[in-house]
Symmetry: C2
Subunit: 225 residues, 2 copies
């Protein structure tokens, strides 16, 4: 029987490639996505397509209303808009207004609860520090500290079961992630990266995420869309 | 200006005393409670009363649907009932069926996100290892590991702001907690401890939590209700 893995799936390039890696590494995959008040609900549609494409064992979409606690530009109700048309060298040089407070900790915690119920030791997250150096909850030190807390703070951990948080993209560039995805059969036209898509799910082309995607595909020599 | 603290408030004896301690320690208090699919929704009513009694600056009740991931007897939809009439020495000797996977990690993470937005360094939790040795996410080692992850995985932490997780009840017995609460002016008739109250919020009297409460009040020499 294959070991189980819970994969955080947003429906973007990174989490989709992460899911492909988890599958290729021999795990039976369980995907989890969150409806957290994000501006880009179309990403959940992308997550659904990706989960179906990779035939995950189960895809859970869970409601966590972060709009009540957040002042992030990714949250619809925040009234803040994601920055547009920033030069590449500015992206990732600071902690962006699209940072959602403690988001990865919150998502990892819920994934951990599900992993415990499923009996899954592995949790996969597409955290990446190369293009997103501005997000502290993507740093390997954080991932490691969270893993320690996870093993101390769960019944399974207390009973000697060891959870492992896998962040396979941690040190890859966007171009490397895209190449890896293509190699593993990812059809990136299913994915959505934009922070501010149109109501029918079309990317804006000018937010940080669209700019990094464009650059990544160009560098990887892969045709997008 | 008083420093701010976010307090996890379930409306039971422990979290209510914790809120009183946070207040007495000079913090401006922000309470957070969760609607997570629990069997005992009446506890949210208790939390509301307690928050009003202590005039917290803001009381947030947040939806996180753990029923989708949980197999705990505390979750209404689990189909499992909390154990009744267990002898005292059995309570806390194992990890009980009322354990909700990763619950404190999830709640602390969300409290952390809110603390970050509020600019609150302090997060208070009524975790306690004396009566609840069976819950791994109440152990001081876990609280400390979570604090490390919190400081590595947030924008505030990355910028040198230090979060501190306060668990002032950590090593107190239920009787000590009750005495402390009385000393700080807590009216415990507002609180609800029961895992399985009647629809109008009356405690069952026979679940682990009711038994520990009864024993605690008796030992403290305080009249309950």
């Amino acid at each position: 029987m294959k070991p189980k893995a819970v994969v955080l799936l947003s429906g973007g390039v990174d989490s989709t490639t992460t899911l492909a890696i988890a599958r290729q590494s021999g795990f039976e995959t369980y995907a989890i996505s969150f409806r957290y008040g994000q501006r880009h609900q179309a990403e959940l549609e992308a997550a659904r397509k990706v989960a179906a494409f990779f035939k995950v064992k189960q895809h859970l979409i869970l409601d966590v209303d972060l709009s009540q606690i957040s002042g992030s530009a990714l949250i619809q109700q925040s009234g803040i808009s994601p920055p547009k048309n920033r030069p590449e060298n500015e992206i990732g040089s600071d902690i962006p207004s699209t940072y959602v407070p403690a988001r990865n900790i919150i998502f990892l915690s819920i994934a951990l609860g599900w992993a415990e119920v499923l009996g899954a030791r592995a949790i996969f997250i597409g955290a990446n520090v190369v293009d997103y150096s501005g997000y502290p909850d993507c740093r390997p030190e954080f991932i490691e500290a969270f893993q320690t807390a996870a093993n101390l703070g769960t019944k399974a951990g207390a009973q000697g079961f060891r959870f492992k948080i896998h962040a396979p993209l941690s040190k890859m560039s966007k171009a490397q992630i895209i190449k890896k995805g293509v190699e593993l059969g990812v059809d990136f036209s299913m994915t959505l990266s934009c922070y501010d898509p149109s109501p029918d799910g079309k990317p804006c082309g000018s937010c940080d995420s669209c700019i990094l995607r464009k650059k990544g595909f160009a560098e990887a020599g892969v045709q997008d869309w």
